[in-house]
Symmetry: C4
């Protein structure tokens, strides 16, 4: 866990993580937000609306675990989804929210929960020692009411455990770890698994009427 | 808005934007063109035929809002599509035209207009505060008569408003913003949405007769 | 045309072109070869078997237009396909052979010739001023008898003209230009068009019996 | 062969190979492991759990050909799969295990062995001089019992020869060469061939009931 790291250490780690995540194409158009725990009661998190692939130190701020700014900057609207995780589990040291194409496709078209099983990369998740297991990721409906969305996440976790990740429909992925390297490892594993799931398990037929489209083109 | 920036500032911004857009693969084979407003009556725009991913200062020129060169260089044939936008809306500070595979596929095969709805990334567009909205992108037939194409765009915008972007069939995407960072944010959001649309909404069946092809291969 | 450039200029251009082509993923596993004309009777070409994405000066050699080494190094087996083009057309200053996935897929599965039409990127080819045109690319059967393959290419060009490019089935793409930047522009346009063609025109159904496969998996 | 290279040379080569493999996306989430032979009885191999795209010298260790550490570090669980290859064939100087999406898709869904034929890139494999050949890659069931998995590989090789590579179902690819550059060339060729195979030969229909999914979405 990273409870004792300084704000400066948290900033440099988040800046580098952002560059790495950006290079994968998982945070387009200033989407996504990243955070690290600073203490029992606070974390460092990206400021709203910044380019997450090219973060400056000024793009990282401090908030308490109610999501209130400690330095006068404006946090992301989704800050509460990060702080609830830190409050829920003292073992969580970093939270990453990304916005990849595959997370969006799977969350929109592959049902209310995603089950990964039988793949070696499941061993990338903390505590997993075999591929012969299943990982269930819930998909929550998207909402601009973040407090309501956070409460829905809490209800699900109260029933099923914290787990490793969740999807918000048409919005993206949340994952976390005991520290930033573990959260990044979980993120890379999940993006791989979502890509696999889209290609091999769930790829719905296009919804548009192709004959109608061809007619349109003929016009 | 960027009305007061100098030509040197405009050049360095366009060079960097080109590098970033090139790395995404959205300006192959010297396609695409990029511009920024310099004043009420002029803008900086890429010179015709240059490699947009590796621009030099000499690859950027100044034109008035009739698309006439102010420095003797040869502007892109499509300059008029940029200048009409600056003339139409004083709030537009940058225009980006790109040429991605997904923009080409969607513009050729998915009907006369594209509607994006229900996705969080719609919040990347200026003024959008919820995913629960729709964004309509018109698709105009391609033409080498740029004045006629510009007039068709004007007619559409007179009826439907300026909006955020349009596609030209088999040609690519135009988008814009109050400044270059906003235009880049809109571009990244649109490329993501076009990729999503191709994968999940509109992917026509191949048009060739596969049996015929297999016969050809057997020969 | 680049007839007068020195060997040193040719080397530095080919090294940079190789880095750029490698970054696109078009020359895996030491495949591909690149050349530039040095004079009426000679060209610079990559040495057999080198990593084309990380070329050193020593990886470039000089050959005459019969494909014979002028400096004792071992040229690529396919050198004759380059030199025949330089001999055929004094206007050709550079030849690029690449080995992308899309060129391989299209050459194997989309029939004996590929026709691109109606796309703006066709204007990337020298002399093209409109999208309202067609570009035909022949697909030749692969052979390890390069002299025989070169003769087949010659026969086709005698009947249809030199054109801009050809494919070898399961092997890759050949394209050329008056100088290296034009050849690179043609290459980028062709890779884009081949990607488009695979996605939108020709994507054959998998050939394997899926039921048989599922049975295999069940075992 | 590389029997005589020093540990320092082996380390720098493995660090660079890891950067190159990482850039291709073939070692996500600290997966994969890479090794080079040091002597008749030992090799250098990546330490368990490190980020293979950003290796430090401390992330490489020495083991004997029974897979026992020679320097007190903890080797990857799969070390035995590397050392068995070095023991089996004195001509093997490097072994690369990667974990790409395509290797996972093909190993899970395309049957018990993969046959590549008729493609020019088959000439990338040592000793191949024509595309008119076939390369068979066995797919072994995944297991956390590495000794048992190694024994199964041995049995297959005793019957069919060492070959150039094998897949482990849902786990990834193993390939090797007389030295690290040859192993990298084999890896790049195999990733290309697996990508080709997935696109053109074996792409099973999604397994989920799409009507059921659409119903889920409607809810």
């Amino acid at each position: 866990m990273n409870h004792t790291e300084t704000f400066e250490q948290a900033v440099s780690g988040l800046v580098q993580a952002g560059q790495r995540i950006w290079q994968q194409g998982w945070c387009p158009a200033t989407s996504s937000n990243f955070s690290r725990r600073l203490s029992e009661n606070s974390c460092a998190i990206t400021v709203s609306g910044r380019d997450k692939g090219h973060l400056q130190a000024a793009d990282i701020m401090q908030v308490d675990l109610d999501g209130q700014p400690l330095d006068g900057k404006k946090p992301s609207a989704e800050t509460l989804l990060h702080t609830r995780l830190y409050r829920r589990d003292a073992g969580i040291g970093a939270v990453l929210h990304t916005h990849s194409l595959k997370a969006t496709l799977v969350s929109m078209h592959c049902g209310p929960q995603i089950t990964f099983e039988g793949l070696e990369l499941l061993k990338a998740f903390a505590g997993q020692s075999t591929h012969d297991t299943r990982l269930v990721i819930p998909v929550f409906d998207n909402s601009q009411d973040i407090a309501a969305l956070a409460a829905e996440v809490e209800r699900w976790m109260a029933a099923h455990g914290t787990g490793h990740a969740y999807l918000i429909r048409g919005h993206g992925l949340y994952t976390w770890g005991s520290d930033l390297p573990e959260a990044l490892r979980h993120l890379e594993a999940l993006e791989f698994l979502l890509d696999y799931y889209w290609h091999a398990v769930c790829k719905p037929a296009p919804k548009k009427n192709m004959n109608a489209m061809v007619r349109e083109e003929r016009q």
